[in-house]
């Protein structure tokens, strides 16, 4: 069943909201097991294939609309591939953790932590927009994509690494 979508018309309808808005209120039905809130990856691009099913399970858990799930997948793929390719510079056997937690009922927040040299993608200038197809580089648009598709992007330095926080706004909980 697709997640219920918020409509402005519903806001004016005489509906009863749950007394307490918890992440559980967002559930569309009973579920045998929820996904783990934390995913640990090794510094290899192949491990990015673990992200899709994890986000898919989280999306079901929190009734995330398809467009938001798309944005989460996009931003996590970008953030994690940047860490693997640029942060760890191809070093194998380094770890990256991604943790997911709801912030109230309005946001789903993903925290990416690594042990790579400091890099602030929030302050970094995005790659220049190419003037011709021949100048078009296959990568380099990741920072622009994350800024566009995440609702909030925050970088924090760690003593030996980086913490990138990506928040995604959720629509109001489904009304039953």
């Amino acid at each position: 069943m697709p997640p219920l979508r918020y409509s402005g018309k519903l806001a004016a309808a005489p509906v009863t909201m749950p007394a307490t808005l918890t992440p559980e209120n967002r559930m569309t039905g009973p579920h045998p097991s929820w996904p783990e809130p934390r995913l640990t990856l090794q510094s290899q691009l192949e491990d990015l294939t673990l992200v899709w099913p994890w986000v898919e399970a989280l999306a079901a858990r929190y009734s995330v609309p398809a467009e938001t799930q798309f944005a989460i997948q996009l931003c996590l793929e970008e953030a994690l591939s940047n860490v693997i390719r640029h942060g760890y510079r191809g070093q194998a056997n380094q770890s990256i953790t991604v943790e997911c937690a709801p912030s109230g009922v309005a946001e789903l927040v993903f925290t990416v932590e690594d042990h790579a040299p400091p890099f602030d993608p929030v302050a970094a200038a995005p790659a220049a927009t190419p003037a011709s197809i021949q100048e078009l580089e296959p990568g380099g648009q990741g920072i622009r994509l994350m800024r566009k598709f995440a609702s909030r992007l925050t970088w924090q330095p760690l003593p030996h690494g980086n913490r990138l926080i990506l928040a995604f706004a959720l629509p109001p909980p489904a009304i039953s």
Binding site: E78, S132, G139
Partner: protein, 111 residues
């Protein structure tokens, strides 16, 4: 991720992509895309059935498009869904590779 090709009238090669253009999807099509781009002069990349486009998937479009263009060929992107088109626009791809939602308009770009 699936890829199918069709030779259309006017020397147009239509490449239809189907699935998620994430890291796994990109890996599945890259070789074939590059082979097609090695000979196509007019390349129509059909994105109608692409559900997701990430940065790895963008590479799978950009590299072949650049190859075709470098040989004097033309490329058009056809019918991406709203989110996929938003990725293309944010990355600035749409200003360099035309995006069309009507097949006749896409063919006209290649004409």
């Amino acid at each position: 991720m699936q890829i199918t090709t069709e030779e259309m009238p006017g020397g147009i090669t239509r490449v239809a992509l189907d699935g998620r253009m994430d890291i796994a999807g990109a890996a599945a099509i890259d070789l074939k895309m590059n082979i097609i781009a090695g000979s196509a002069k007019k390349l129509l990349i059909d994105l109608q059935k692409v559900e997701f486009l990430g940065s790895m998937g963008l590479r799978s479009i950009v590299i072949p498009a650049r190859a075709v263009s470098s040989r004097g060929g033309k490329v058009v992107l056809f019918a991406p869904n709203e989110m996929v088109e938003s990725v293309l626009k944010t990355a600035g791809i749409d200003t360099l590779i035309p995006v069309r939602h009507d097949l006749d308009a896409a063919i006209a770009v290649l004409g």
